[in-house]
Amino acid sequence: MEANELQEVVLAFASGAKVREKTDRPSLTVPAASLPDLLAKLKADERLSFDMLLDHTAVDWLERGVLELFYQLFSTRHGHTLTVSAEVPREEPVAPSVSGVHLIAEWQEREVYDMFGVLYEGHPDLRRLLLDDSWVGHPLRKDYRDDHMIERPK
């Protein structure tokens, strides 16, 4: 399936979805609340069969005040890819968990929680993944600072 064709098919699925510009593969931006539902549909659909959540991460757009969650989907049957993104506010970042659809999302979401502080609703075991439980803050946020970090001298 060609990229445009793929986007068309997926757009029909998702309500409130927009094509995300400036990406190098078929991409959509969807409302965060619709994520689990959409991913489940994308997985189940015969033509799409996005059965592998290759990657899930977030980007902290500090100026816009949002955290953009990225889901890289891959179909082991058809070999095509899709990027789904959703935005949550920086101040109160809550997103639904997709761990019911893709098993690995459990850890990927824990990592994103750890690094960005995104709270996932319905996550079975939302703990920090890489940092100590006593860690303060979420280091991959753009405004994160701690005493340990030093800037490289210019």
Partner: protein, 226 residues
């Protein structure tokens, strides 16, 4: 037939990720009853023992390179990267102009360059080329980006020390200009003042980013004036 059949893999073609892929299917290990398994199990063990026996009995398969005994003959590959040095000509002059390309290219701030306008040449001259051996990852980007071929990586590796501070030192043995500028200075007297000799541990080494900020560069005693 033994339990594991090395030729038991089956070749076939499969549709994966929208492509047809030639695959090789793993042979399965099947149990075929008690006596068969015991017999072939024993046989497989003996096969393994037959493989190792020649190793145990002969010395011809030993491949050990005996460092430090072989130190006289041990040659590093010429591209092997283990220490950053200046390229020097026959008279010990380097070609660094202090352009800081390497400092900028270094991913982890292992290079700190202090420059000054040369009194004689009036050009930018490197005063101290401080290299943090303790932090360098030998990624070669400094050598790669150097426009003047002033740097090279050497392959010597015997650098273990008792004190970490000894691993931060100056690469240049004199504070002065680039090699080609020497010849342009005709005056003998001026030539003598062209460069000041410095030792590896001259000057304060800015160990930024460590718990020992600003500690003296020398192992013992005071840090030299810069």
């Amino acid at each position: 037939m033994a339990l594991f059949d090395p030729k038991g893999a089956r070749a076939e073609t499969r549709q994966v990720a929208g492509k047809s892929v030639a695959v090789l299917l793993a042979p399965r290990l099947v149990r075929r009853g008690f006596l068969h398994d015991v017999f072939y199990g024993l046989k497989s063990l003996l096969t393994g023992m037959r493989v190792t026996l020649p190793y145990g009995l002969t010395t011809s398969r030993i491949v050990t390179r005996q460092y430090p005994e072989n130190r006289g003959t041990l040659k590093m590959y010429e591209r092997y990267r283990a220490r950053l040095t200046f390229i020097r000509d026959g008279q010990g002059r380097h070609t660094c102009t202090g352009c800081r390309n390497c400092e900028k290219a270094c991913p982890n701030g292992s290079i700190i360059i202090e420059t000054a306008k040369g009194a004689v040449t009036g050009k930018n001259e490197v005063q101290r080329f401080i290299w943090r051996f303790d932090a360098c990852t030998f990624c070669n980007l400094c050598v790669y980006t150097c426009p003047f071929d002033a740097l090279e990586m050497k392959g010597d590796f015997e650098h273990a020390v008792f004190d970490r501070r000894l691993l931060v030192y100056n690469l240049n043995s004199y504070a002065g200009p680039h090699a080609s500028l020497w010849d342009k200075v005709e005056d003998e007297e001026q030539r003598k003042t062209l460069a000041t000799k410095i030792s590896p541990y001259d000057g304060k080494v800015p160990l930024a980013g460590t718990s020992m900020a600003g500690c003296p560069a020398r192992a013992h005693g005071e840090g030299g004036a810069s």
